[in-house]
Amino acid sequence: GQQVMQIPQYQHVQEGEDFTTYCNSSTTLSNIQWYKQRPGGHPVFLIQLVKSGEVKKQKRLTFQFGEAKKNSSLHITATQTTDVGTYFCAAGGGGGNKLTFGTGTQLKVEL
């Protein structure tokens, strides 16, 4: 079945540092979504990317979809303590109609 890997699994940063998580699929995707889960909370939808090479921004967050539609990244500029949580990519397509969640990246931000 479709596999979606995310790296790194964990990341500790100092407040103000940048952070990037990468998502890689074994198959070409129709779309990719990103979700954020705060500690003790539930995943919340952030964004969806559909087009090859697409780049979208939400304030300090920048999302990219690879040219081959097999990978994606989320970059946070100047992290804040409110960015703490686990970030998941979720890949659509790859031969099926279901979303496959990536393994997640747990971000901790220290003052």
Binding site: S30, P43, G96, N97, K98, Q106
Partner: protein, 118 residues
């Protein structure tokens, strides 16, 4: 006015017992899901229903039985609970289930039900 609500939030039970988790969405969505999140935070889909019809049934022990009485409700019944069933179970819904543009497959999650089997 919670969009996706699931009960109970916490469930502690003994091995071998049977338990149910209920889920309701008031978003008018056609598709509902059950996801399992283990202690390492991996999120795995278990089941999906579209308009009361089962469309995704992953490799899940048949001790787990979903039921969708209508498109706004999706319940999960678990028989003969085992230690390995301890996890957080998330219900989710989406407008539709087809992948691609349009966002029909964007998920709205419930708050989760933490199941602990002793």
């Amino acid at each position: 006015d919670t969009a996706v609500s699931q009960t109970p939030k916490y469930l502690v039970t003994q091995m071998g017992n049977d338990k149910s988790i209920k889920c309701e969405q008031n978003l008018g969505h056609d598709t509902m899901y059950w996801y399992k999140q283990d202690s390492k935070k991996f999120l795995k889909i278990m089941f999906s229903y579209n308009n009361k019809e089962l469309i995704i049934n992953e490799t899940v022990p048949n001790r787990f039985s979903p039921k969708s009485p209508d498109k706004a409700h999706l319940n999960l019944h678990i028989n003969s609970l085992e230690l390995g069933d301890s996890a957080v179970y998330f219900c989710a819904s989406s407008q539709g289930f087809r992948q691609g543009a349009g966002g029909a497959n964007v998920l709205t999650f419930g708050a989760g039900s933490r199941l602990t089997v002793l």
